[in-house]
Structures are given as structure tokens and as C-alpha cells.
Symmetry: C2
Subunit: 87 residues, 2 copies
């Protein structure tokens, strides 16, 4: 499947979440990641996120698609994720 994950977490945990998601997905922009994942990987991601975040304060939204073909993507402004990868 294909995932888009966006998080809104306390600044104290934001880098931990970013570092963790980087192991599985591509960074798109500040607090958004996307990429292919198996069901098993998704479960791993969810377990890891629950360990890092405070579920009473933070929020992570996971959008799940059958494939990357399920959507079209358009960017306005700079492609931050792309810049990061080529630096």
C-alpha cells in the first residue's frame, strides 16, 4: 500500500517522530512523510509512533491508499523533500 503520514506533535517530540519515520518513508515537508509500505511495516510504524508520541496531546494522521496511483500530487512553491535528498 501507499501511505501519507502527517503529524502534529509537541516540539519536544517532533525530531524523534521525524527521525523514526525517515526509516520507513520519504520526507515530503515539515511533518509530512509518504511512501510504499506493507501491512507489516504499517503495524511497525504505528507501534513505534505510539511509543514516541503522547496520545493525549499529539496527533498523527495516516492516509492509506491501495497504490500511489490513487492520487495526483501538485506542489506550489519549493519542493522541500526533493531539495533535501539532493543536498
Amino acid at each position: 500500500m501507499y501511505l501519507i503520514i502527517a503529524y502534529d506533535v509537541n516540539v519536544a517530540r517532533v525530531n524523534k517522530v521525524k527521525k523514526f519515520l525517515r526509516k520507513y518513508l520519504h520526507w515530503v515537508q515539515n511533518s509530512v512523510f509518504e511512501g510504499e509500505a506493507t501491512q507489516a511495516t504499517l503495524e511497525e510504524i504505528k507501534i513505534g509512533l505510539k511509543e514516541i508520541i503522547d496520545e493525549g496531546e499529539d496527533m498523527v494522521v495516516i492516509y492509506k491508499f491501495r497504490s500511489v496511483e490513487a492520487f495526483k500530487k501538485e506542489i506550489i512553491g519549493v519542493e522541500k523533500g526533493y531539495c533535501e535528498e539532493i543536498i
Copy 2:
């Protein structure tokens, strides 16, 4: 169509973007909105965003789907958008 819009903009413009997108879509969490839109509305949103953001510094990513059925959504932690609506 259905849209998910995530933005990563300079703090000087973040409230402007939020206020603008609120006119068209539902707030999901810090810097993420989603909702139904026609092609005409999407064009209006894009024009408006280009007026607000600095295209050399900011980034807005627009994910476009045929319908809300194109994805499944899962939330870990608090449902911020929902809280905001009921307050």
C-alpha cells in the same frame, strides 16, 4: 474531487494560509486541511495560495483524489480537527 492540502510556510504567513484554506476545506491538524472541492474551487485555492505564500521559500502540497473513498484514514492520538469543531 477530494483534496488533502499540507503546507510548510514561513511562520509569518502560516495564519494567513490557515485562514484562507478554512474557507474551502476542513482543518485536520496543524498545517493539514482536507475536503471536497470542484475543479473550479481547486483553481481558486491555488490562485489564492500563490498570492499568500512566497513560492521561493514556502511549500504547499496538494493531493487530489477522485473521492474520499480513495483512501482510508487512521488517527493516532487526539483528533485535533474534531476538537476544534465542537468547541
